[in-house]
């Protein structure tokens, strides 16, 4: 368990002015979590993750790992502690003069393992990241995704309990990002390793995290279970991030550019329905159609599985008797469906 307690980090810019990079940040990360920290660049997320292995020391506050306050450790014990925390980076940071094998073996030099044991371990790690055939290649001969796999193998060499991932997929194309995320998920399940993921992409959070913290200007503005945050975002920034991952929010754009079929006809209501409960078992749309004798025309739909539960919604046009539409919306809200009227083209009462 990682307990970050009231961390403040200030940088001086050299001219007596101080910049507060972290403002009283507290987070608890449980064993086995894949904890996502999302924010725009400059939000302080990289500074925060560097407080977990003290690559950057917080100005005040404490960081406890399994109950041990690491901010109070001396240099030697801190180095020992760091061996239990692997880290991967946006730009991989592989040693260019060493082969893939040499890079993965790099942290094992003073581990007390024999040459044969190191070889066995490196081979096992390379197998885990599916790079056994590139053992003798130099980093310059590898693709971005392969480099990150080597970096992951290297980060796992000392059997850490925690893996810190600092924008590890930000330099990769979407397909490679997907494969790296799958690998991280697999490692989390197989090795029960706790992973802290720093990213600016909500997709990354959606794909692998079970917990998320949203950061802005050095502070955590919202945090919790990924499903809850996605289903019911509270802070405007969180809402913005979620919009980037769902096409349900493209409707406003479509509306603005007058795409045929999107603009509601007279008497119609354009609305966004979002599911905010974990079980969407009822056939809501058909039952509304039957119950209220109205028509529901689905324009967009987006349902995904987040943390094992479906989440998403539809953009629909209601067509029918005005009062019936109101009743239908009321009914849906009672069923815990979020109804957001985007454009109402009915006659005002």
């Amino acid at each position: 368990m990682i307990e970050i307690d009231n961390i403040v980090k200030t940088f001086s810019d050299g001219k007596d002015r101080e910049v507060e990079a972290l403002k009283n940040v507290s987070l608890t990360i449980n064993d086995g979590d894949i904890y996502g920290i999302i924010g725009f660049s400059g939000a302080g997320k990289s500074t925060l993750v560097r407080c977990i292995n003290l690559l950057g020391r917080p100005t005040s506050g404490s960081v406890r790992i399994d109950g041990k306050d690491i901010t109070s450790l001396d240099a030697k014990h801190l180095r020992e502690e760091r061996k239990k925390i692997g880290m991967i980076f946006q730009h991989f940071n592989l040693m260019p003069s060493r082969t893939v094998f040499g890079n993965v073996a790099f942290p094992l030099k003073k581990s007390g393992l024999s040459k044969a044991e190191i070889q066995k371990k490196v081979r096992k790690l390379l197998e885990m990241v599916e790079l056994s055939d590139r053992e003798n290649a130099y980093p310059s001969e590898l693709s971005g995704g392969q480099k990150q796999r080597v970096a992951i193998a290297r980060a796992l060499a000392n059997d850490p309990k925690i893996l810190l991932s600092d924008e590890a997929t930000s330099a990769l194309d979407p397909q490679t990002t997907g494969s790296i995320l799958k690998l991280l998920k697999k490692l989390n399940e197989k090795l029960n390793i706790t992973i802290v993921v720093i990213t600016h992409e909500m997709d990354v959070i959606k794909q692998i995290c079970n917990k998320v913290a949203v950061m802005e200007q050095g502070a955590v503005v919202e945090s919790g279970d990924v499903f809850d945050v996605f289903a019911n975002p509270k802070h405007p920034l969180t809402k913005d991030f979620i919009k980037t991952t769902s096409n349900l929010y493209k409707v406003e754009e479509m509306l603005n550019s007058n795409i045929a079929g999107v603009v509601p006809e007279k008497g119609e209501v354009l609305a966004r329905l979002t599911y905010i409960q974990k079980e969407v078992s009822e056939p809501l749309i058909s039952s509304v159609t039957q119950k209220f004798g109205i028509l529901l025309n689905i324009l967009l739909a987006d349902v995904e599985i987040v943390s094992g539960s479906p989440i998403g919604g539809t953009v629909v046009k209601f067509n029918g008797e005005s009062i019936r539409i109101d009743e239908a919306i009321q009914y849906l809200r009672e069923k815990q469906v979020g109804v957001e009227v985007i454009k109402d083209a009915r006659n005002p009462y």
């Binding site: 690559l55 061996k83 003069s97 980093p139």
Partner: protein, 226 residues
């Protein structure tokens, strides 16, 4: 054969022994000053790298002191160093003249230059590599040897080559303190007595020496770049 040589290089054949002696003197100065200078320059370059602001052993006092001293000695022309350091030479080497007397000023003349070269070679190591090594729990000594030095062998080989070549240039001035060497030989005979063949022969030997140094440096650099 003998006759052709005598006709082509009348003075050189006459001064053959002195010529060889000059080559030996130059080599001795290059080797001693280069060897000692390498150790000091290398050490200072590393110290500057790790003690700079944000370095792994940040230390403003050490950095500032060494940085200032390096600048100071970098700005003194070698010809002045040669004479100004005579008392120090006498104290350390027992004499301020001949080849022995030239070693101290040659070291002082080349170390600051090499220090800067090493510093800039090590500066090419990306901060990310150092950060990765720190995150793995390496101690500062390991970071210096296994990251900074190991990952900069190519640039370090180039820095050493450049310094060795510039040191060769400095040895040419050592004649001022009676150290002999090729520079002194060329000035004394080639210029003062207008023996042109001696000047040419000296130049050719120096071109060959520089080429060899460059070749060695390049091949080490190439072998260590992936």
């Amino acid at each position: 054969m003998q006759e052709i040589l005598t006709n082509l290089l009348p003075n050189l054949t006459d001064k053959w022994y002195d010529f060889l002696q000059a080559i030996v003197d130059t080599l001795v100065m290059e080797a001693w000053a280069g060897g000692i200078g390498f150790v000091f320059g290398f050490t200072f370059g590393i110290i500057l790298t790790v003690t700079k602001k944000g370095g792994i052993l940040e230390n403003a006092v050490v950095f500032k002191t060494l940085d200032t001293l390096t600048n100071l000695f970098r700005s003194i022309p070698f010809i002045i160093l040669l004479t100004a350091l005579m008392p120090l030479s006498r104290a350390l080497m027992g004499t301020a003249i001949y080849v022995r007397g030239a070693i101290v000023p040659l070291v002082f003349g080349s170390v600051p230059f090499f220090t800067r070269q090493v510093q800039s070679a090590l500066a090419q190591t990306s901060d990310g590599l150092v950060e990765a090594a720190e995150s793995m729990g390496l101690d500062p000594f390991d970071i210096i040897t296994r990251v900074y030095i190991r990952e900069s062998i190519g640039p370090l080989a180039r820095a050493t080559t450049i310094t060795a070549i510039s040191l060769l240039g400095l040895t040419a001035m050592a004649g001022v303190v009676g150290a002999g060497g090729l520079g002194d030989f060329a000035v004394r005979y080639g210029h003062d007595r207008n023996m042109k063949d001696i000047t040419w022969a000296t130049v050719i030997v120096l071109v060959i020496a520089v080429s060899i140094l460059q070749l060695i440096g390049d091949s080490i650099a190439k072998k260590n770049t992936h």
